[in-house]
């Protein structure tokens, strides 16, 4: 196992290598080659992860800590007893994340080749995507909090870069994108602030940042005894033999009454853990878009759609969930924080679900939906359902990526449709411009506004079908993936509420059930607005199905959205993988080897003028990705035949090997039926509300027209005024204060007034004063006056004219008196 796990650096290095290659060679390569390179890097990383999955399964799920070559220690200060290594951890949790990230990532890479076609910065886009994968993998593979933080900030950076990718769009769009990117980064920084503080506290509490020390065996739920801790050799001043953070926590909790000293003050250990977890929560709310820091995520939709799918739906935003899961030991020890996490998550789920009801932008709806679903996950991990949260993380990655990619396909089609329609009208505009940045000469048209769509089901069948699958999965309709995972979460809430009697359990259950209803409603509203009915614009009418490189990932993800639920039903993880892999490979070959199958899907749409031929490079991608998938599938099948065996597993059991306090499966038929009912109810309600026509006159929502729902809709449409509130409470005061500080206080007062008036002018005045009134005045003129008086007294008749010599003499006399006085003073005193 050690050997297999030691490949883990490859998982990180591969995407970085891809990024570097494209960064330096991108300008010389064709689009296909660039895409192939990036996608292959992602696919290979997936393959490595898959191989490791097999390996770890074959070796009893034993976690392995890997020191990467060359870069052994990162921050290593013996005198301060700081040793933070570049150390990676392969366990079931990190592998789960690796698989999701690289798996979904690969598909989205593939999708992006089609989506980004023709963009002037095509290569750079893939550089960023690969870079993102690399950072995300650092985040999940690190064995200490700081490596996690590296990834944490790194993905934030990539998110920033990708949101602002179209920073140069015309009509002020570019500025909007740039500002959205900036907002994302800064809000995330606020979260990072919390995480950093948590890390500081952890370090000074435990003296280390490592999750677990090498060779330290996880002890789960306090049942297994803490293993002997390896003592490393060497006299470099680092205190060896200490336990990792989690083992130490267990030990102190077991021991009880431990006091942590922070130099200037002391705190009981439990309080410290609560503080740490609360600070961590700030980080989670930032990255995973929870109340109060979720505001960046809707704006982040300014990025290209693959980015929204990969980063802002499937992977990066789930980092917070991963973080809490990873720190299950700490959250278990801090019930207060855990409760807060639960409440925050559940509240976010409901709040975002509500806002999503009133959105017009196809991606904004999905964005708020993502926030809402992240709320589900966070609430789940908060209540202690770590596996449930992770489960939902995975299934959500599938169907939300699917939905985003579907929406991307729609937007793409709308843009092309718009262009097409436009070209029809103004045939003199013969110039064929492509891509996204060059629509400058066209009038403003929002291809993302759902009011401009309608009836796309007919035009884009694959997109429609897959989107529908995604929607149903999200709404939690049996037997799609979302049903299982959502039910699992609700089950956890139910247990917490009714079995453990936790107050937050009740809150969570209520909030989440309501949110589930909203989910179904807004998703079906979207289906109605986008796909059903009749086209409402020329663009929608002229839209065509997207190219295979975009539709294939849709199909794969649709399959995963259907079958993903199997992960956690006791079919066994291996069988799910086998099924999944087979399905994926089949999908590839079906789509490319059998064009007729493709025609079967597309044929009913408008006549397809030309099918994109399989370019060699494109084929390379297909082959590469397929090979990677095949390889991993083969490995899963072959390993048992080599003698190793792995038991039938659910995700819960699988995660138990790395996440302490993972609670077992909770299938609650009552709840399942209730949730399903709510989901179906939501859909039916939406269907009723938005039939026959989803839009009333003046492109207004039906709910907007009805007086009883009007205020609610407007509130949702205005996003509950979060941005405005923040703007008024934080941003504007900050800006105003900055301006005041900078221009008034620092410059006008401190720099100008103070330094000029007080320092320089005083200085000058003092100089002038001493020079003119004192030296030439008091001394000179003063003595002149005395001199005049004396002279008048001496020679009354004479008028004295101005004369310097006399005053000089007087001054000297004054000096004589002065000198004599000072000298004689002691004598006089005696």
């Amino acid at each position: 196992m050690e050997v297999i796990a030691s490949f883990v650096p490859l998982v990180v290095i591969l995407p970085f290598a891809g990024a570097l290659l494209n960064l330096f060679l991108g300008r010389y390569l064709s689009e296909k080659l660039i895409g192939a390179l990036a996608t292959t890097a992602a696919a290979l990383a997936f393959a490595v992860a898959a191989v490791m999955t097999v390996g770890i399964t074959a070796h009893g799920y034993e976690a392995v800590v890997v020191n990467p070559p060359i870069l052994d220690s990162w921050i290593y200060i013996p005198s301060a007893a700081i040793d933070i290594p570049w150390q990676m951890r392969v366990d079931t949790l990190s592998l789960t994340m690796m698989l999701v990230v690289t798996g979904v990532g690969t598909l989205i890479h593939l999708y992006a080749i089609g989506y980004m076609h023709g963009d002037p910065r095509f290569a750079r886009f893939f550089v960023y995507l690969n870079l993102f994968l690399g950072f995300m993998l650092i985040l999940v593979t690190g064995n200490n909090f700081l490596m996690m933080f590296v990834g944490w900030e790194g993905v934030g950076l990539c998110s920033f870069l990708l949101i602002g990718f179209w920073f140069d769009k015309k009509h002020g769009e570019g500025w909007k994108n740039s500002n959205a990117a900036r907002k994302a980064f800064i809000v995330n920084r606020v979260g990072d602030f919390g995480l950093l503080l948590a890390i500081f506290l952890i370090f000074w509490t435990y003296g280390t940042l490592d999750y677990y020390k090498p060779n330290e065996v996880l002890h789960i739920g306090g049942e297994k005894a803490a293993a002997d801790v390896l003592v490393r050799e060497g006299g470099d001043g680092i205190a060896h033999g200490q336990k990792g953070v989690f083992a130490q926590t267990e030990a102190w909790l077991a021991e009880g009454g431990h006091i942590v000293s922070f130099g200037v003050f002391e705190l009981p250990f439990e309080t410290v853990v609560t503080l740490i977890t609360l600070f961590m929560l700030i980080g989670v709310t930032g990255k995973s878009a929870q109340i109060p820091l979720f505001v960046w995520l809707p704006d982040a939709m300014a990025g290209p759609t693959p980015v929204s799918a990969l980063i802002h739906a499937a992977t990066m935003v789930t980092a917070g969930v991963y973080l809490i899961t990873r720190n299950s030991v700490l959250y278990h020890a801090a019930p207060l924080s855990a409760a807060l996490v639960t409440v925050v998550g559940a509240a976010t789920a409901l709040m975002a679900g509500f806002i999503a009801l009133g959105q017009w932008d196809i991606k904004k709806v999905l964005a708020y939906s993502t926030v809402s679903q992240l709320g589900f996950m966070v609430a789940a991990v908060g209540i202690g359902g770590y596996a449930a949260g992770m489960f939902h993380l995975i299934t959500h990655a599938f169907f939300k990526a699917l939905l985003f990619l579907g929406s991307g396909s729609v937007i793409h089609a709308m843009e092309h449709g718009h262009h097409h329609a436009h070209a029809h009208h103004e045939s003199e505009h013969g110039e064929e411009s492509h891509g996204h940045a060059d629509h400058a000469h066209e009038e403003a048209f929002d291809p993302q506004d759902m009011r401009n769509m309608g009836g796309l089901a007919r035009r884009m069948p694959i997109t429609f079908v897959t989107y529908l699958i995604g929607t149903l999965a999200l709404a939690g309709i049996f037997p799609l993936a979302g049903f299982w995972s959502k039910d699992e979460i609700l089950g956890k809430a139910f247990n917490a509420a009714f079995i453990d009697g936790k107050l937050e359990g009740f809150a969570m259950l209520g909030l989440l059930l309501a949110a589930a209803g909203f989910t179904a409603f807004y998703m079906w509203r979207q289906i109605k607005l986008v796909f059903l009915g009749v086209p409402r614009t020329e663009a929608a009418a002229a839209a065509t199905e997207s190219s295979p490189s975009m539709t294939i990932p849709l199909l794969v993800l649709a399959a995963l959205s259907i079958f993903g639920g199997a992960l956690n039903i006791p079919l066994g993880v291996n069988s799910v993988l086998v099924i999944g892999v087979l399905f994926i490979t089949a999908g590839f070959w079906l789509l490319w080897a059998l064009p007729s199958v493709r025609l079967f899907f597309i044929g009913r749409a408008e006549p397809v003028t030309s099918l994109p031929s399989l370019k060699p490079a494109f084929r390379l991608i297909a082959l590469g990705s397929a090979a990677a998938f095949m390889l991993s599938g083969a490995a899963i099948i072959l390993v048992p035949s080599l003698g190793a065996s792995y038991p039938l597993e659910t995700l819960v059991l699988w995660l138990e090997h790395s996440v302490p306090y993972t609670k077992g499966l909770t299938l609650n038929p009552f709840l399942a039926i209730l949730a399903l009912g709510i989901g179906i109810g939501g859909i039916l309600l939406a269907q009723r509300v938005y039939s026959p026509a989803p839009l009333a006159e003046g492109n207004q929502d039906v709910l907007e027209i009805r007086p009883d729902t009007r205020p609610a809709f407007q509130l949702a449409n205005a996003k509950l005024y979060w941005d405005e509130t923040y703007g008024r409470l934080i941003e504007q005061p900050y800006n105003r204060a900055a301006a005041w500080l900078a221009h008034k206080l620092d410059w006008e007062f401190w720099h100008d007034r103070f330094h000029h008036t007080v320092f320089r002018d005083f200085y000058k005045r003092a100089a002038d004063f001493i020079a003119t009134p004192v030296d030439r005045g008091a001394i000179d003129q003063g003595f002149l006056r005395i001199g005049r008086a004396v002279a008048q007294a001496a020679a009354r008749l004479r008028t004295v004219q101005t004369g310097y010599v006399r005053t000089y003499v007087f001054t000297m006399l004054f000096g004589v008196v002065l000198v004599m006085l000072i000298l004689l003073l002691p004598l006089l005193r005696q």
Binding site: Y763, K764, A766, A767, D768, I770, A771, T772, V774, D775, I779, D780, Y804, V805, T807, Y808, V809, T811, M812, F814, G815, V816, L818, V819, M820, I822, L823, L824, P826, L827, Q830
Partner: protein, 516 residues
Amino acid sequence: MLDLGGMNIGATFPALSLALGACILLIVDLSVPKERKEITLALALIGVGVSFVVTLLSLGERSTAFMGMYIADAFTGLMNLIVLAATFIGLLIAYDYLQRTGMNRGEYYPLLLMSAAGAMFMASAGDLVTLLIALELLSIPLYVLSGFRRPDLRSEESAMKYFLLGAFSSGFLVYGIALMYGALGTTNLGEIFARVQAEQYVSPALLLIGTALLLVGLGFKVAAVPFHLWTPDVYQGAPTPVTAYMSVTAKVGGFAALLRLMTLALPTFTIGALPEVAPEQTILVHAAWQDTVAILAALTMILGNFVAIAQRDIKRLLAYSSIAHSGYLMMAVAAAGTFAVTGDEFGTPILSLSIAEEALRGALIYLAAYAFTNIGAFAVGMAVERNDATGTLLDDFAGLGRTQPLLAGGMSIFMLSLIGIPLTGGFVGKWFVFFSTLNAGLTLLALIGVLTSVVSAYYYLRVIVKMWLEYGEGEASAPPRLTGAVAFCTVATLIIGILPTVVASLAEGVTLALLR
């Protein structure tokens, strides 16, 4: 009484040879035609050279002449070297200026030499009488030289003022000497020391008033506040080469006398008995005159520096700058007023003048650095000055950095040295002076000193700003003699700054021990 052996004329040769040279030059010059005055210059330079060599040869000796009225020791030697170097440079830079302003008259050179001889005598004074005579020998030629630009009113006016006020101040000096004599019955500095320490004086009041009047007389010479008011007028009115020379020699002479008086005669002058000291205990005792000098020093530093800021004329600026530097030197004088009293094993007090010695050395090094720096600065000012004595405003320096980089570079280094930036002589001087001031326990005075040096940076920098950072025509006449002198001063300033060993080793020999 007329013990010829006690005369020991040999010890006086350095100053004597210069005075003699001046006399000879006066006669020889009569036969030098007006257009060949470089001969006079050359002869004068030779005279200075001879004196310089003689000084060097007698550098190590320590002796007295004329029954203790004349002292030749390391102090004298170093002072003489400084005076002679300043005189040499003063002569060198004067010639072309005198030539182009049409006042190249032969008597300039002997007068200058006479005055220099006066300064040298002053540094050798072992008796108040010698001191008085030397002072007059230094001053009277300077009165004449100040009015050398005949018939220019400003020049004559400045001479008149200088003369009247100088004579007035000598009145105080003479009266002071009389009172000292009255109080102690002697005018020999060593005797005074002995009698003061033995408290053999008539009344402390008489002695104090005498000291005060001496301080006034010498304070006038060194331009200490409030006896400084003549300085700007005279510096401005006098021909620039005279100012250049005067700003250094008069100051060196004045401080030589002041230091001699205070360190040789009155360092342990306290009113009343010395405080008790326990065995093995050391305490610092402050002389009676220390406060007075310290206050004068503080006033001088503050006033000189602040008033300099308001100046627009380089000569007036340098005048106030020289006042300010008098303040720093006065600080050293004040520091010399602290002496240590250590009790021996029986509690008998033993006096130690090591702090005064240190202050003395510091002052000497300061003077050495100041001499080169200041005369160099005036030399540059002279180059910028036009024939009609205009062109002395700061604005006239604008652009000099572009037209005359060498002069401007030299001037910048002089200014930095006057500020006290390291690697220049000015810094080393300040370092030693501040050091001894702190040693003497005069922390407040040192604080005033350092703060006013920041103030001084402001106006010195303005000169640099004008030369390098502002645009202007930057006209200057820089004949080789002057340029060479500036270069020499620059190098000397830097050498003192970088290798203070050179002066420090000379100053090392200065003690207060032997000749008493």
